[in-house]
């Protein structure tokens, strides 16, 4: 008599898969929190062929359509921005300053910030745009 063994079906245990997935989820959520940035509600200027300008260390100066200036998403005076730029430059000279102005902002408001950066002898500035 031939004895046949019942073939066992191979089942991948999915329980451990969900554990891995949730660990990954927690990790990515934490990374996203570290990268979190405050955004000012502005209408981005648009342009074609914009290049990626983010560097390892970045400092964002936002200017809204009424000329309000924000540093990393929080309202700030020109003096506070001047101090923050000098401090960032002293700590890491390769810090990149990003100028994020509303498309309708009158140029004189942007020029005020540019003049301040010129006075600080801060050379390379990124004009942030949205892809057209």
């Amino acid at each position: 008599m031939k004895i046949t063994r019942k073939k066992q079906m191979f089942i991948v245990p999915m329980n451990s898969m969900s554990d891995v997935a949730f660990l990954l989820l927690i990790f990515i959520m934490l990374v996203a929190l570290i990268n979190y940035r405050r955004e000012v509600k502005i209408d981005y200027p648009e342009a074609r062929e914009a290049k990626r300008t983010s560097a390892e260390k970045n400092l964002e100066i936002w200017i809204d359509s009424s000329g309000g200036v924000y540093l990393d998403g929080l309202p700030a005076s020109q003096g506070a921005i001047e101090q923050a730029v000098s401090e960032a430059y002293r700590r890491a000279p390769d810090t990149r300053v990003h100028l994020i102005a509303d498309r309708h902002t009158p140029f004189r408001h942007v020029n005020e910030t540019l003049s301040m950066l010129q006075l600080l002898e801060y050379r390379v500035v990124s004009f942030v745009v949205k892809d057209e």
């Binding site: 991948v12 245990p13 342009a47 498309r103 004009f127």
Partner: protein, 139 residues
């Protein structure tokens, strides 16, 4: 005595859960990607710095308060400006492109001109507020 067999739980229940978790992972990865800034790098000249340019090499445009582009007093559109820059750059390798911007001109128009100058690879480009000092130059 009643013998009860322990019920086995299947693996199928958690499959949907892991799908959901992976969808959330993709969502967070996409959100993290939004933080990258795109734009144009500009070199700011030193305050009150002067630069000597031959008159023949100079091409100057003006932006009026409403954002209209002018060249030698005549209104031009971006395409015409591009043609003019291209033709002068072909004969003048040391072309210096200057944009005079009215204080009330919208930022979008300035950015559009900066994009044009960078696309045409004009080495010497600067813009200035009408009645003020130089604001920016090519990187």
């Amino acid at each position: 005595m009643k013998i009860t067999r322990r019920q086995r739980r299947g693996y199928g229940d958690s499959a949907a859960l892991s799908d959901l978790a992976f969808l959330l992972i993709i969502y967070f990865i996409v959100i993290a990607g939004f933080n990258i800034n795109k734009g144009f790098l500009m070199n700011l000249p030193a305050k009150n710095s002067t630069r000597f340019v031959l008159k023949d090499d100079l091409l100057r445009f003006e932006l009026d308060p409403s954002g209209g582009l002018f060249h030698q007093g005549e209104a031009v559109d971006m395409d015409t400006a591009e043609t003019q820059i291209r033709s002068l750059a072909a004969t003048h390798p040391n072309l210096a492109l200057v944009l005079g911007v009215a204080p009330e001109a919208p930022w979008q128009k300035v950015v559009s001109f900066v994009a044009l100058a960078q696309r045409l690879e004009v080495e010497s480009f600067s813009f200035t507020m009408t009645g003020g000092g130089p604001a920016g130059g090519a990187p």
